[in-house]
């Protein structure tokens, strides 16, 4: 056979496989508002950067007439490419081929690209769109999932792992995304659950739609399983691309540096915070008044809104932000916000990203439901995460820092490298009202005018203790600074922390309270 004929043979073979499940199945996919697996990869990666592997892999299952069925590429596309020049390994399940069901060879393709990503120390992106296990392949299909979960775990903290849910992801399959760093979901397209609506109806008689059980909104607002919510696949891909610019390729590198830029003047840092500590404001405005170009990339925007997490840049360098949000639930720490913050702190620590913590919280949320939901062990995660983190830790106390909340929010005592406080800071064992009621209980009760006496004592306490100077006099705060000096102090702190080196006692691993 002449060479050009052989080349043509390859081209023909490729063309056949590239159609995936065929035109009918593709039409069905489009009718659901979804792109095909290959279109998704092309939309996400830099133009012409995709190298595909294992195009000709096929299953060899025999039971249930499987030997008569050919499944192109076994229902999953794998390869590598670049996003803004950064190398990424990628797999995308192809719903048009047997519903993207996971059989042995399908799973081997995924684990091949996972092994590749770990060996080459590059980020892994998984696009999930699958009906679940390929039942005909029985326990082989379960083995396939197990091999994926194992690799997700071993790669965790070494390479960034992103999961994109662009279709159903049900049963055991959900545990791969859950083990990865960031989960992206799209309204009306993503569906994640352990047991679906049909089983729930049969067993319990409870009726619920797929969307209400495990749709994108549910996982973004209620469960906290998803980190990024988008209205369309296109918006979702933009979020992924933006995230990739903020994170390093692996845990031995730092994120790429960008050209620094000043914050926009419309975020006037002197005018954001009301003086009265019981009045709300949007702490994101403070972040935007500090970061390069006022560009703050928020993570888990819709979940546990009383704490804000996300990335920004300081002098061109990626920085993680953790901030209490007085606008939502007074910025308290509770079960959900502790979970959210602790995981993000550990992410930043794993990938060499300095953490800036902005503090303004009255304490922990009171309530039977919180206590019974385990606010003790969940709250402890924040202390654990801050204490064990060895990346540069910078803290700015904006206003309230009361009691346990003060300690938890990256205090000096948990080894923050730099602690700054604004003149509006109130660093105290508790709020003035509560403190005065306890300390001056006798005076208040025995007074002829208890209310007047209470007010007087609250004022006394405020003047004496509701300020940053008591903490500053002990060196718990390194400097009391004007709001307008914040960016300057933080940039300098990050600069001098460049070569931070602390050593921890040897351990196999710690036991964080999860």
């Amino acid at each position: 056979m002449p060479v050009n004929k052989k080349i043509r043979e390859l081209q023909e073979k490729r063309e056949k496989v590239l159609l995936g499940g065929g035109e009918q199945a593709i039409e069905k996919q489009k009718a659901m508002g979804k792109r095909t697996a290959r279109e998704r990869i092309m939309a996400l990666l830099d133009e012409n950067s995709f190298n595909e592997y294992d195009l000709f892999v096929e299953h060899d299952a025999r039971d249930f007439d499987m030997d008569k069925k050919s499944l192109p590429s076994d229902g999953v596309i794998i390869g590598s490419g670049t996003i803004y020049g950064a190398p990424v390994a990628i797999f995308a399940q192809d719903f048009t081929v047997a519903g993207g069901s996971l059989g042995l060879m399908h799973s081997r393709k995924i684990t091949k690209i996972m092994d590749h990503a770990l060996k080459m120390r590059m980020p892994l992106i998984g696009i999930n769109d699958s009906g679940g296990a390929r039942i005909q392949e029985g326990v082989n299909s379960l083995a396939g999932y197990g091999e994926i979960f194992f690799r997700n775990t071993i790669s965790s903290g070494v390479i960034p792992q992103l999961s994109v849910i662009l279709g159903p992801c049900a049963g055991g399959a959900v545990y791969s995304p859950a083990l990865t760093d960031f989960v992206f979901v799209v309204d009306n397209i993503s569906k994640m659950f352990i047991t679906g609506p049909e089983v729930i109806k049969t067993v319990l008689g409870e009726e619920i739609s797929m969307e209400d059980l495990g749709g994108a909104r549910v996982h973004s607002e209620v469960t906290g399983n998803a980190h990024f919510f988008a209205m369309s696949e296109e918006e979702c891909f933009d979020q992924i691309k933006k995230l990739i610019t903020f994170i390093p390729w692996n845990n031995s590198q730092k994120a790429r540096a960008f050209e620094p830029g000043e914050p926009k003047p419309e975020y006037n840092i002197n005018k954001i915070i009301p003086e009265d500590p019981t009045l709300p404001y949007d702490v994101k405005d403070v972040i935007r008044a500090i970061v390069d170009n006022s560009d703050f990339f928020e993570i888990m925007e819709l979940y546990a809104k009383n704490i804000v997490i996300g990335f920004g840049r300081m002098g061109g360098r990626t920085t993680g932000f953790v901030a209490n949000q007085p606008l939502e639930m007074a910025g308290v720490l509770d079960v959900d916000s502790s979970d959210k913050a602790a995981r993000f702190i550990r992410y930043c620590d794993a990938f060499n990203i300095p953490i800036i913590t902005l503090v303004d919280l009255p304490g922990y949320l009171p309530g039977v439901d919180q206590e019974h939901a385990g606010v003790i062990r969940h709250g402890a995660k924040v202390l654990y995460a801050y204490s064990e983190a060895t990346v540069p830790k910078l803290t700015v106390i904006l206003r309230k820092a009361y009691g346990g909340g003060y300690i938890a929010m990256s205090s000096r005592h948990l080894r923050a490298d730099f602690v700054f406080a604004w003149p509006s800071a109130e660093i105290a064992v508790m709020g003035p009202e509560g403190a005065a009621n306890i300390i001056f209980r006798k005076e208040i009760l025995s007074s002829a005018d208890p209310d007047g006496m209470r007010k007087q004592k609250v004022e006394e306490y405020k003047t004496k203790f509701a300020n940053p100077y008591v903490a500053a006099s002990r060196g718990y705060v390194d400097a009391v600074i004007e709001p307008s000096e914040t960016r300057k102090f933080l940039m300098h702190s990050i600069e001098v922390s460049e070569n931070k080196d602390v050593s921890m006692p040897y351990k196999k691993h710690g036991l964080p309270p999860f």
């Binding site: 319990l204 709300p280 009383n306 007085p326 939502e328 007074a330 910025g331 709020g431 009202e433 509560g434």
Partner: protein, 105 residues
Amino acid sequence: MNKNDNLGFLNIDTSLYQTRISNKFLNRKPYTPVDHKIILSFIPGTVLHILVKPGQAVAKGDDLMILDAMKMQNKLKCVMDGTVKSIAVKEGDKVSKGTVLLELE
């Protein structure tokens, strides 16, 4: 700030903070102490057999019902000596978690 809509107040250590209140907080269930006289389904399932009748005297440890759930036949045991006051379900009923099955007195 034009984001001040839906602001309420939250009491932390006797201070009232003006802030948005989450749905989760608004919808939280008020705490009620556990009443040991009311037997609830501890798992969703199907009532397979009812082994007692209203008015029957029962002792701690007696089997009251068999609840078929998660491919297991779960025996519901009596937690105290007493009398069956009423039975709220019949055999074959599908029950969700926390459904009242039976009341003792």
